[in-house]
Each structure stands twice: as structure tokens, then as C-alpha cells.
Symmetry: C2
Subunit: 307 residues, 2 copies
Amino acid sequence: MDYSQLVGEIFKKNSFLCVGLDTDFNKIPKCLQSLPKEKALMTFNKSIIDATAPYAVAFKPNVAFYESEGLTGWKVLADSIAYIKQYYPEILVIADAKRGDIGNTSERYAAAMFDNLQADAVTVVPYMGKDSVAPFLAHKGKWTIILALTSNTGSEDFQFLPTFEEDVTAPQIKCQSKGRLTLTEAQSGGSLAPLYEQVLSTASAWGSKDNTMFVIGATQAEMLTDVRKIVLKNFLLVPGVGAQGGSLEAVAEFGMTAECGLLVNSSRGIIYAGNDEYFACVAAEKAKDLQQQMAKLLYKHTRLYVK
Amino acid sequence: MDYSQLVGEIFKKNSFLCVGLDTDFNKIPKCLQSLPKEKALMTFNKSIIDATAPYAVAFKPNVAFYESEGLTGWKVLADSIAYIKQYYPEILVIADAKRGDIGNTSERYAAAMFDNLQADAVTVVPYMGKDSVAPFLAHKGKWTIILALTSNTGSEDFQFLPTFEEDVTAPQIKCQSKGRLTLTEAQSGGSLAPLYEQVLSTASAWGSKDNTMFVIGATQAEMLTDVRKIVLKNFLLVPGVGAQGGSLEAVAEFGMTAECGLLVNSSRGIIYAGNDEYFACVAAEKAKDLQQQMAKLLYKHTRLYVK
């Protein structure tokens, strides 16, 4: 699915909702837990997918939840993606896998997610740099979603570290010993910016708005203003609305582009909203609630809203 | 396997060799490729494990290579680890997975690697900070191997970025706006250090030498001197000797502690050294070569060498 198709879907459904499939056997309704595990997980996923598809433009299976169930989990993951592809081919499938390694290994992770599982998009970690991300970007028609700013407390440990950024208009500083620079040397040709901003500016040049998105945690909604100074048009995948506490209004206010440019995820707030035999209906209601809020925000902030 | 058991194994075998199981169906000997894929991959792994076990203290399956084969690959990965556990329980099994996510998701990755696959150690990415790594550290008797400095060219993109480090002996700077600090402000209370050094100093405080190792790329062997100023005793997992070009002598010279403190990995240089029906013998010879070099280096640099 390319950029314009994604924008088209968003304005067809008046929704930028991504439903996170963080499927946990211990949290699904009791009435399903009596089934064999694979059947239980698959029934839950199919029910959630069918119930929320009218309101969502993306599904995001969280790979960890399947991986921890071993072969059974991996099969449910593959079958769930195949189910979405068969019945809802217009919905983007994001494998939330946070992968990334040296080039020949990232190639295999990209093959696992794009070729084997048939996901449309995969989340990747930028710590190892360009050649660890390039093998994902090399898959035409697929999306690479790069981690920039996350919504957990640990984001403060490294993502906010002030890092030296060379001033491209000033005479260049040659950093003789890697990473070693006195503050006096630094002062003559640069400034300090948080690491996540450098990740955005560096990594946004690796691809384009047509194949690259960024993860930006919603608990930091006001920071979306800074983010949008660096990545003008790329889609941002925003987790953390709902259970993790972000505000949808703030995310739209600070992060929305004229073509939306946002996918906002909700996982637990939708899929575990109900815990009896009506769980799918409850999930549908929660998804519809979010979609209706999203429709209003699209109307308010963009020029493409179609009733 | 705890720290002292690992040190004991190293000096029993006079080896700090980790054999990387980057098993790729297209690279295994032709004589195996005629078998059904699962049988072919498993036969290859068992042969390599049996042939190199006398010279190795760790095996490191690279999870990407199995994941890209879907269910078949995941089964081969699980069965290979089970095989090592059954026949070589004294050898450390490192799941090279480069995982890491928010807390409740990292818990599931830790469960996948430690409980489901029964690995002794897992590689993790520190970008998301402490709460993304803590769920791995919470598994008693297991090892968390944190990425610090990698051997790929992309390591230059972020790992070497000069980052502001507060001088703890100077009056504290309160950074009002996260990550935003003028260089003049910074000058009054800190210095600039490469990001990977900050990862080492911050992350080494999350655990101890008994449950935390760090990945340090071998193409940067001279940097091990700086690394050892920050992490005195932790084991370092060093990839990149062999196919990726690092020198074993330099790694030992700059990185070895009195109790070794190193696991040096070789993957392609061992497992694909032969490509006919004698591949396992050739792999054994290559592993033995490395073990013999390692024995000399242990004799040269430590006080625990036992003939």
C-alpha cells in the first residue's frame, strides 16, 4: 500500500486508527480460554479484526506476544495476518517487531516480516544506523517504521540526551577522535539537540515519505511540534493513546499534516475493553468511539475531509 | 550459568570462543540441500554443534536466520537449542535477537527467549532505556547482553555522536527543556562523550557483571581501552572477528580482564568454512585454530591459565 492509497483509506473511513493486536492468552475472555490455545487466540483475533475493521486503517500485531507462545504463537501471527490480507486487503498490517541488526541479518528480518509473514510495514530500531535499516527500505511497496521517540519512562535515558549537531552553515569541525569533542571545539560549529531529533533528521534522509514512518510516543504530544519541523510529511505512528495515557486531541493538534500523516494506535483500550462473550461488540464500540473523535479532528485540521 | 561457572568453563577449555549459528539454507553444503528444509537445517546445526563443542564456550544462534524461514525456522531454532541443552549443558546459549520494547512487551520477549526457547542469554537494544531492558534482567540465572558499539559502518550514525555528559563533581545543570541545552550552559558542568560510552555507563548500573554483558564490535578493537575504563569486569561479546575483519590479538590486548571477560564470536568463518560432506570436520579445524590462539592469549593476559 503506497502513501496515496493510505491517505485515501484514511479519508474514506475518516479514521487514522491503528488497532494493536497485543493478544495475550491470559487476558482474552474466559469463554475462549477453554479452547485449545491456538484456536482460542485465533478466534479472539478474528473476532477483534472483524469487529474493528470498519473503523481502522491499520492493524498492528505486537510480535512479542506471539513469539512468547513459541510455534503456536508464530502460527497464530501468520494466520492472523493472512486473515487480514484475505478479507481486509485495504488495511495496512504493521508487524510491531522492533527489529534491526547488521546488514545481512536485517535482510533476514525483513524477509521474515515482509516475505514470510506478508506484513506491509515493520517497526525497526535505528541504534545500529543506516545499513541496519536499509535492507527494510529495499523492499518496494513496503513501509519501514523507525523508532524515534517512545512513550515509556526509559525514553529519558538516551532519547533525550543532548547530542552535538554540526551547524551545516558554519565552517566544519573535523572530529579527530570519534565522539570526542571538547565543548569549546563544539561551540565554534554546532549546537546540542536531543538524540531523537538527530535520529529523525538523519533517518528521514534514508528513505522518503513513501516508505518511511516514525514512531513518536503520544505522552510527549507537545514535542510533535519539534518533530514536524524535521519530518514535514512522513506518517508518524503514535502509540500510547489510551492505556498509556496520551491525548488524541493534542496529537492531532501538534502532529497532523494536511494529508493526516498520523496513525494512532490503541491496543488494550480496544481489545480488552470487554471480557465476556460480547467482547467483540465492546471492542467495536471502543474503536467506533475513537473513529468518531478522529473524524472530527480530520475535519478540524485537514483540507481533505469528506463526509 | 553464572559468572564463575562461565569463567570456569573458559579456563577448562582454554577458550573464549562463541560459535555463531547463522544458519542459511542457501549456504549449507549441497549434499544437505536435497533433504527437506527442516531436516537439512537441523542436520547442519547438529553437525556443527557436535564438531565445534570441544572448542567453544558459547553458541549464538542468530534468530533472524530462523525467523525468516517461518514456522520451520522457529522449530529448528527451538530444537537446536534443546539439542545443545541436552548434550552440552555446560555451553552458554545466546539468542542473538536484538530485542527491546516497552516493559510489558519486553516481558514477552524475555519469556520467548528465556522460557520458551530456554536460551541462557539474549542480546537487547538499549535505545528505549532502562524499563525496556529490566524485564530481561529480572530473569534470575540468565544473561542480558546489551548492544553498545557495533561493528557495522552504520555504527557511525548514532553510536559515535558526541553526547553531553554531566560532570558529577561540578554543580549540576538542570536541563529545563529535555535535550535542549546551549553549549555555553553545557560548558559549565559537563563534557561530550560518544553515545556508546553513555550507554555503557548508564546501562552497566542496571545490572551487574553477574547478569549483564555488552556487545562491542571488534573492528573497533582499540576502543576497548575506553570501554574497559567504564565496564571493568563485565563480559563483552565481541562479534566481527573473522568475516567482519577484527583481530583477535587486538581484542585480547585491549579488552581482556584478569578473568578473561570476553566472548569472541565467529560465525561464517567457522560454519561455512567447508562446503562439501566434510563441512563439519573443516568447521572443527577452524574452531580449534581459534581455540589455540585463544589459549595463548589467555596465557599471555590472565593469571588463571591452566595447562
